[in-house]
Chain length 406, copies 2
């Protein structure tokens, strides 16, 4: 897995020309990369303590870049726990990553409020804060008609999980005195796209944050440094990054991104706008493509999540969905968070398919691809969360279980 990861990462970054040993005889990675490993590490004094650590040279996880370099995907298949290392969190931006001086940062809140106010970053940090482990997912996190050579990173690498720290937006809304007639607010970023979205005020009273921390430290630049909106469980683009302005109003603002892009076409010429919530979904991360298994017992592992609350169950099917077997969920099961599931399965060496589906605490059950197409038609490319899985061939190789979408 490590070698494959490294090679796949290098392929994404540098093109296939630099690769050696991808197939056939594979020399050890140390030989490939000429890492000077001592024959006996106990005979060599190692390097001393350091100001900031680095990964082992044998571990080179990388995000998968979109050809237009507007997004990158988390290597879900290489991750072991539930937290995504900050430098591997997926990213999606519309005008690149702005460089913002935190000393010059400010957030204006105005419109239908009693007292329009400007908050500096230091002022935001003085308010009572919260830290919560939550997932973040892009609305476009599913490739229709993907082929057999598809990895979890390609299927749903636009979801990641962090411990987010910030001030509840409700605290700031009480500070400025949001008027009763205000039902929506505009969130505006200070990137080159000046990204804007309209958000219902209820989300602020519920659980929206102005986040400035991620996994214990400051936000990473591509995730909105120094401060962003964070709407737990809602599509990532609505959690406007590099946030500079919030305007309260009595209706949505119908901005460019939310009308031209983040609207879901349905059947019969209809379209669904403001479909914020990310529905429940799951992915098996072991085994997966590329990978190879041997007959016998193995732990099938994966993650499940729902924008509506806690995961209630994750199930696996080995007979194309006729019967389902309940997997173990790993505690703590947090709301609007990736939850890891595990299931011991014995592969008998025959061709097999493994599928996963999840159910959240509202009773919502992850749908099949067919159910999604029946409900939405074939034109929808956002908010797709079908049951997916893997085929295991008799030689043990694992490929994506393809489905024709349209």
């Amino acid at each position: 897995m490590n070698r494959r990861t490294f090679v796949a990462g290098a392929a994404g970054a540098l093109g296939a020309g630099v690769l050696k040993g991808v197939t056939g005889v594979t020399p050890s990675l140390a030989q490939e990369a000429e890492i000077p490993v001592p024959p006996d590490p106990t005979r060599v004094q190692g390097p001393p303590a350091s100001l900031v650590g680095s990964r082992s040279p044998f571990e080179q996880p990388v995000r998968l870049l979109h050809p237009r370099l507007t997004s990158s995907r988390t290597p879900l298949q290489d991750l072991l726990g539930t937290v995504t290392p900050s430098d591997l969190h997926f990213e999606r931006h519309h005008g690149g990553v702005p460089l913002i001086d935190p000393d010059r940062y400010s957030l204006l809140i105005h419109g239908m409020v009693e007292r329009p106010m400007v908050f500096t970053l230091e002022e935001l940090k003085r308010f009572p804060s919260v830290s919560e482990i939550r997932f973040m997912e892009c609305a476009g996190n599913f490739p229709r008609n993907a082929g057999e050579e598809t990895t979890p990173q390609q299927i749903c690498g636009l979801t990641s999980q962090s411990e987010w720290t910030g001030v509840p937006l409700a605290t700031l809304f009480r500070e400025v005195g949001v008027l009763p007639e205000a039902t929506w607010f505009l969130a505006e970023g200070q990137d080159a796209a000046v990204m804007t979205r309209s958000i219902p005020v209820e989300k602020a009273w519920d659980d929206a944050l102005i986040a400035y921390g991620q996994n214990g430290e400051a936000l990473r630049p591509e995730n909105g440094y120094p401060a962003r909106l964070f709407l737990p469980g809602w599509e990532g683009n609505a959690s406007v990054k590099w946030l500079r302005r919030i305007e309260l109003s009595d209706g949505p603002f119908m901005t460019r991104e939310e009308t031209s892009r983040y609207t879901d076409p349905l059947t019969g010429g209809k379209a669904r706008q403001f479909s914020f919530v990310m529905d429940a979904r799951s992915i098996i991360t072991h085994p997966c493509h590329p990978g190879r298994v041997t007959p016998g017992w193995m732990e099938v592992r994966g993650i499940a999540w729902s924008g509506r609350g806690r995961i209630r169950s994750a199930e696996l099917s080995f007979d194309e969905g006729a019967t389902w077997h309940r997997a173990d969920l790993q505690e703590p099961i947090l709301p609007k968070a990736h939850v890891r599931f595990r299931y011991m399965w014995r592969w008998d060496g025959e061709e097999a398919t493994i599928l996963s589906r999840t159910t959240d605490e509202t009773g919502y059950v992850q749908p099949t691809q067919r159910e999604l197409v029946q409900a939405r038609g074939v034109g929808t490319s956002y908010h797709l969360n079908p049951i997916t899985g893997w085929r295991i061939r008799p030689d043990g190789t694992v490929v994506y279980r393809t489905e024709v979408w349209g």
Copy 2:
């Protein structure tokens, strides 16, 4: 805080000679460091998506290096949540950080077992795994007689928290068939010190892991890559890193490190050996030194942890311990884990002292320095967990509340 952090970090790394603007007039950090920030980021297309992210140039958290470079401390005062970024996790090693090829790694388990076995890393990863958020703390995580210019990083930066992933040691012990008469095991590392410790077998049946994952990815080299022992709640040195051998026996091995170093001298010429558990402790991380506050409401923030289980309460005192006020604990409250506490406090501008203490689910209450000295004498330098706090001077500057130890 950011500028102070950067400057303090630079001071630790480079010496004070390079510093500008530490006191008195402080130019903006962008000017100091000549970071080319555009006047209006919305007018400049930012850099595109990247394979691996980096921190903002305005954020440079660093570990604090021991003068002999045998350890480094986590910048607790700069962290916002409960997870420690992997590259800022504290480290302590006795022979430097070995470079180990994961393809050549193996773990031998032998001694009082039915079937001695050698496990490769891939084999370890095939077993059912767990992922758990737990703290790790060095037994020597308290400097006696620290002065007023002391930061949380200096007081207790030898504790950090990660999501650890690995195989329960109990699973491997069942695999090799540990004999009933085996009561202890030796854990041996493959660093240049060949670190060894004796561990009671009960810890393996309870919750010990062979960990290969940290915060979602592979262990960092200084934390034991590719695999280490992890003993939740116990002193860090017993969680032997770069683990290569486990030997089962019917008694402790009395190895060099556990006899010469990790034994606690007590009063009356006695000594306490095998004092594995880290007792409950807490630290206020805001406000703290160096820092400055202004009169009015502020959120006092900190972390509490206990090697014995869950934190039951964290309390603050503003009158040198005469009365205590219960802080809010942040959910989820996990066993043997850092828990963040928060308390709204109004500073009236007079000189003040703030102390924190915690109580765990066993009823253990964090002791005062005086209680510790009465129980252990003045020679003990390991397993010290006294109540600590900060003095706020009338001008708002914050210093460590010193106590003479001996």
